[in-house]
Amino acid sequence: MISPHPIAALIGILIVVLSIASGLIWIERRLLALWQDRYGPNRVGPFGLFQVLADTIKLLAKEDWIPPFADKPVFIIAPAIIMVTVLMSFAVLPVAPGIIISDLSVALLFFLAMSSLGVYSIVLAGWASDNKYSLLGGLRAAAQMLSYEVFMGLSLMGIVLLAGSFSLTDIVHAQQRIWFIVPQFLGFLLFLVAGLAETRRLPFDLPEAESELVAGFHSEYSGMKFGMFFVGEYLGITLISAMITILFFGGWMGPVLPPIVWFLIKTFFFLGLFILIRASLPRPRFDQLMAWAWKLMLPLALANLLVTGAVLLAFYR
């Protein structure tokens, strides 16, 4: 298999990822509309496909307003952080054999590190806005991320044990015989929940909580700075879906079709799942969310790790 040059892969993946993220906005709006008995965007271009383009032009043309009371440098840097950290994570994703920007041996740890850094974006945005709603959103984000990071990492350790490596390429290869969804079903569920929380999507959208905090951490943002949070969120969903595919569903592997197609099919399936979850669930309260993380999810993740380790020790030594 011929590997493309890393720079070519970088440019290719960047373009594909960014267009998926923006295309996802259209997909989400159309799917939600379908499920909610309405039309969704269907005016701009065929099937409303260019709606995102029109929205982007609108966002770019808008006044990029920074409130006079805001902490200006932090206010500006916050939306950049989320874009950077999420895009960095894409660098270590093996999309297909050889199509990867940087095949790190600690790719999984890198991914976890980047997703942890991503929360700074939200917290700093909430802080710099100097608005009580934003501040509450930022505080919620900090607490939520902290609690959900913990078992997110732990839920993946079972896979690391099974694959014997932190490298995502190795993890995909280790699923030749059986996808990790089977031995690590609990780990999958935990990661799915943690991933939802990580992307701050319903039912974990407490930091923005439209009906309570009016938009939370990005209440004060406008123009393309808001656009970056927006795209950052969709990039995040794409990232988590791709990670689920790689970690639990054998990455690019599958019969007949080329590997990259399989990878896309699986990723889009989870993207659809994320949208479906958003369409159906209400939002829990902040303290309930925390209680579930620490009292339910964390013990389950630990138990999963313990059982996986014990089974490995007993049968595969």
């Binding site: 309405r38 009580k132 009906s211 309570e212 209400p282």
Partner: protein, 580 residues
Amino acid sequence: MQASAVGSVQERFPDLPVVAQPTRDQIPTMWVPADSAREVLRFLKTEIAQPYAMLYDLTAIDERMRLKRDGQPASDFTIVYHLLSFARNQYVRVKAALREDRLSAPSISNIWPAANWYEREIWDLFGIVFEGHPHLERLIMPKTWVGHPLRKDHAARATEMGPFRLPKDKEEREQEALRFRPEDWGMRSSHDGTDFIFLNVGPQHPGTHGVLRIVLQLDGEEIVDAVPEIGFHHRGAEKMGERQSWHTYIPYTDRIDYLGGVMNNFAYLTAVEKLAGIEVPPRAQVIRVMLAELFRIISHLVWYGTFAQDLGQMSPVFYTFNDRERAFAIIEAICGARMHPNWFRIGGVAQDLARGWDAMMRDFIAYFPPRLREYDREVLANRIFKARTVGVGGCTTEEAIEWGVTGPNLRATGFEWDFRKKQPYSGYDNFEFDIPTAQTGDCYGRALVRVEEMRQSLRIIQQCMDNMPEGPYKSLNSLASPPLKERTMHDIETLITHFLSVGWGPVIPPGEALGAIEATKGNNGYYLVSDGGTTSYRTRIRTPSFAHIQMLPLLCRGGMIPDLLAILGSLDYVLADIDR
């Protein structure tokens, strides 16, 4: 039973000049001296056998322009207390006369906490001082307002008030009046070394369902205290009642509880018809009941969807609005309009039912129950929904009565009280339906009650369809308006009568009456005073939402911000219903 409340008061206070007054609505009415009103009311609430537990309404009348007050004690301003006894299933009306040179009365806010806002409202709109009131500030009008709008000498229209000017100093005064000082709202900014956050929710906020402002005193995300501010939606509906004729006021009522449509006409006309002594023909009664129940469903559908949305659930609001649209199609076919049909008339309804109405109604009755079952699974059975609502914002029946809560919110506390059953109007006693209740009084209980009410409303509509009487759709009483066209074109007499009653509107005989019905959100009552003219002398609109929102601080103290949104959603209020 009839005179017993007045009799008991006379017996208990032998030295007091208690004057009984006969009224059109048969509610026992007595005049007591303003200074003793508090003692009399305390007696009626606590000491009398079968006490009057609820302060149903509290308002005032500017009597200075009255012509026909025969037999009533002299008064420039009259404070009118309406109490409701559940044990007796009866109202009592207590009136206190005030002279212009001493416009003050003792406050009863220490007897009923609910009196707080009512007394502020009276101070605001009539300028009557309540001694001992903890916070006698303007409630409805802006702080900087000059004058008391419901006084007869206050202008009713902006054009009567001279041009509007905003010079620099006035602008600064207005700005200064908007400055937030926690002390003005009865809150402390710190306690035991902890500084509280004050969060301003509204008047523009997606969770407040309209221009309602709530100032939250927060410790972290926990609510220490909440103070609602109302009045942003005030349009002077009561003042307009004194300007419009009895007939032309009907469309204004549509816009009080703007989700309730004809339900508002219903309450208003119940009062007008009591005053005029009009008997509504059976067909019109059943038509009224049927449309009112359809509007109950329509209103509850809005509540259902938006409540789920307040809790972060995105989809139900689209489904319920979709269903509401189907119900509106029927309303539109019958009435010609959707949200504000303005379709009931004095003595009946505007027209007979449109051809084909029964087929549409039958379709809806077949269509709707499966949808309701689907929503039960989607919303009521959802575990996150339950986690957000069970045990949140609860109150007991006693508290609810204390604060004047009526309707589904009262029934959610386990108290089976529905005015359709207890004081049947418009022939509700001919229908079979249950009164749904819940036991918990929390947000979830309120949701259960409303959902079940929609099913009961369907039952009533079905019975209306099966038993729709034949006959006229409007009374033949000469005060019913507008008079039937086919009866006018006979001779000059009928033509002149028609001309007058359309041009001026009917002249309603002097008197007063309270028309109270079980509206979509609770008890909606119109207390009308006629001075024998073509317009009402005083139109008082008692709305359920006003009482419910006043209770908000009690419900949300100790909760978190998300709980506030759950409570607001579960109370089901409409801002126009609060401010009028």
